[in-house]
């Protein structure tokens, strides 16, 4: 029997459809962009939000977890805040709208709004695969952001902070960034809510490192306690490109951070570090899909999770090594401190290796605070709550301290200890 059924939409799904029809003629974009938006929304309508039956969303059943949506972004006056790294050039996107085009020496900066209007953004409004809900949502609704183009051989002296601040509402931003051959830069991609009230945020960064580029990219997610954050970073690494990718989740109610990385040039190196600070009743999912597609590349991934209260966390780490990607060296680890009986964390490392001469490994641990460590500190007079905080801090500090930039280490440690003081 072949029956045509109209799928029943959940409240959140209908809200998305309504938000889209409500904004027809208002979302920026030329004909090609509008065509892409329509297609993506159509696909989203057909598939609905992903459920646990879809493997890549198994631990984050978005259809069930996303109950409703806030109204589309109401106007809200927000001021930029001080950057995480002193001396950074700040490019602010406030309540979903890029503020200005701060000029950066030697870097081409355009707003994503302009790229939508002139149509140059159309090609990137895609879903990466049939289950790419974030690609569909963001592509349908995205309004603004910043596009960076760092020319070849340019060393960007100051860090650049992409500062996305918002109040409540639906916010969809995009940050394409291309780093030319042998260029160098540090980017902080920061998402933060500045008021109470629910927000539904999607953001995609499209990052290309051309041959020999060296980039440190920090994602700092500090959304509000009732916010949904759907983040995605799409990365391509060229020959001998070096990327330090550091992801910190320290906020949000429902969070999915997708890291979709293709290593496409020989000699490329990826260092991925993640810190997930989870508390309250939040749900946070970090999903990595990493393709080692050519010979002689290496990567290390370390994810450290601290889970309090009734929070739940997920790390899915998929590493694919292509058939001719010999001499790939990839090591992945996911370590979790579970600090309450009601907290939980699911780690799902996966290796798909089609080449034979490779070194690949993964490990996952879940533990409570080491009682010998706790006793030692307390025996020196450090009260229990402080001693615990020190040990939790230590657990994540270990990977933060690997960063070479002292200022960056200090800034991240400050964010982490502030969060811990509030939650521990």
């Amino acid at each position: 029997m072949n029956m045509q059924t109209t799928p029943r939409l959940t409240a959140a799904e209908s809200a998305l459809v309504e938000a889209f029809s409500g904004q027809i003629g208002q979302l920026p974009g030329n004909g090609a962009v509008i065509g892409s938006r329509d297609r993506l929304l159509d696909d989203l309508k057909k598939s609905g939000l992903p459920t646990r039956r879809i493997e890549s969303w198994h631990y984050t059943d978005l259809k069930t977890l996303l109950r409703s949506l806030p109204a589309t972004a109401p106007a809200s006056a927000i001021d930029p805040i001080a950057p995480v790294l002193e001396g950074s050039t700040v490019l602010s996107v406030l309540q979903g709208a890029a503020t200005s085009e701060a000029s950066i020496d030697g870097v081409e900066v355009t707003t994503y709004h302009d790229q939508l209007v002139d149509g140059s953004a159309a090609a990137s409004l895609t879903a990466l695969d049939k289950d790419d809900a974030i690609g569909r949502i963001n592509g349908s609704f995205v309004r603004d952001g910043f596009a960076l183009n760092v020319p070849a051989n340019t060393e960007v002296a100051q860090p650049i902070e992409l500062q996305a601040l918002h109040a409540s509402g639906q916010i969809h931003t995009r940050f394409p960034a291309t780093f030319g051959a042998a260029s160098k830069a540090t980017i902080v991609e920061r998402h933060q809510s500045v008021t109470e009230g629910d927000a539904f945020v999607s953001s995609i960064s499209d990052v290309v490192l051309e041959d020999g580029a060296e980039v440190t990219w920090i994602i700092l997610q500090q959304q509000g306690a009732t916010d949904t954050h759907l983040g995605q970073i799409r990365i391509k690494l060229g020959t001998e490109a070096k990327l330090w990718l550091f992801v910190v989740n320290a906020g949000g109610k429902l969070v999915r951070q997708e890291l979709r990385i293709e290593v496409e040039g020989e000699g490329a190196e990826l260092t991925l570090r993640g810190v997930n600070l989870l508390g309250g009743g939040s749900h946070t999912d970090v999903t990595l899909v990493l393709g080692h597609n050519v010979p002689n590349t290496n990567s290390t991934e370390i994810i450290r999770n601290v889970v309090f209260d009734k929070a739940s966390g997920v790390f899915q780490g998929m590493i694919r090594v292509a058939p001719d990607a010999q001499k790939t060296d990839a090591k992945m680890a996911c370590n979790t401190l579970l600090l309450s009986d009601d907290a939980d964390f699911s780690a799902k490392p996966e290796l798909e290796i089609f080449a034979d001469d490779v070194i690949c490994g993964h490990g996952a641990t879940v533990a409570d605070i080491d009682r010998n460590h706790l006793f030692y500190l307390m025996a020196r007079g450090v009260p229990e709550n402080k001693a615990r905080a020190m040990l939790v801090n230590a657990f994540v500090a270990e990977i933060v301290e690997e960063l070479e930039d002292e200022a960056l280490v200090e800034a991240l440690e400050a964010i982490i200890s502030t969060w811990l003081e509030k939650h521990a």
Partner: protein, 260 residues
């Protein structure tokens, strides 16, 4: 110099019975011991007799459960206090096996611990320069390299370096009751002398020291006022420093034989 003030008791352990919380095995079986302010008490005894267990129980480790008896510290029963509260009252244990704690910066830890100790005594927090000066002075005396202090707590320290770091902490925290659990093991001959000097420098009429050791060698440097033999969870013999020399000569066989 002998500081023992006869009339006062700093530590009084009365008929102490304690077992491993997890499996109920009794380790301390009716132990009595009194230590006076200014006293250096040595505890000796065969492997596995309960010396480290006693030191852990004194510092409040949760893995052991006291089933009978009491521990009075300056007249106060401390059994209900957690390790940090006991430390605040001046109990300090130099561990037989100090743990490595990755990610905890040694200097930051020292600062927190010293300031907690000061808080307990009603003193103001140390300024950073004052703190650094104190650490540097104490470290120099113990011939501890500054580079070591820039590492995470005890991480990658050699056996002897760990023991020296314990004594550094003791010197900085200025406890009333110092418990040294085999601080001599793992120390080379020069380090033994340096560490013993560090311990002796802390001697005062208000401070008592319990030295757990297997060897007379340490007691040549840190001369005990009293020597106690711990065997199967009890003190089976007490005496003065000559008892340690006697043990060095004859081993434990005679004493154990008499006690059995």
């Amino acid at each position: 110099m002998n500081y023992v003030r006869k009339e006062i008791k700093m530590l009084e352990i009365k008929n102490l019975h304690a077992r491993i919380a997890e499996d109920g095995t009794e380790i301390i079986r009716g132990l009595n011991l009194t230590v006076k302010p200014g006293e250096v008490a040595a505890i000796m005894g065969p492997n596995g007799s309960g010396k480290s267990t006693l030191s852990y129980i004194l510092s409040g480790r949760e893995d052991y459960e006291v089933t009978e008896g009491e521990i009075l510290f300056n007249g106060e029963n401390i059994l209900e206090l957690d390790p940090a509260e006991r430390a605040a009252k001046g109990v300090f244990l130099a561990f037989q096996y100090p743990v490595e704690i990755p990610g905890v910066a040694t200097m930051q830890f020292l600062k927190v611990a010293m300031n907690e100790q000061r808080k307990a005594r009603g003193e103001a927090e140390l300024t950073t320069p004052d703190f650094i000066r104190r650490v540097k002075e104490a470290a120099d005396k113990l011939k501890i390299d500054q580079a070591m202090l820039r590492r995470p707590l005890n991480v990658g320290f050699s056996g002897g370096e760990k023991k020296r770091a314990e004594i550094l902490q003791m010197a900085l925290l200025e406890p009333n009751l110092c418990i040294l659990d085999e601080t001599d093991s793992g120390l080379d001959i020069d380090a033994l002398k340096i560490v013993a000097d560090g311990v002796n420098a802390l001697k005062s009429p208000d401070r008592a020291t319990i030295v757990i050791t297997h060897y007379q060698r340490l007691l040549d440097y840190i001369v005990p006022d009293t020597v106690h033999v711990l065997y199967k969870g009890q003190i089976i013999r007490s005496g003065d420093k000559s008892l340690a020399l006697q043990l060095e000569e004859n081993g434990y066989a005679d004493i154990i034989g008499e006690a059995a």
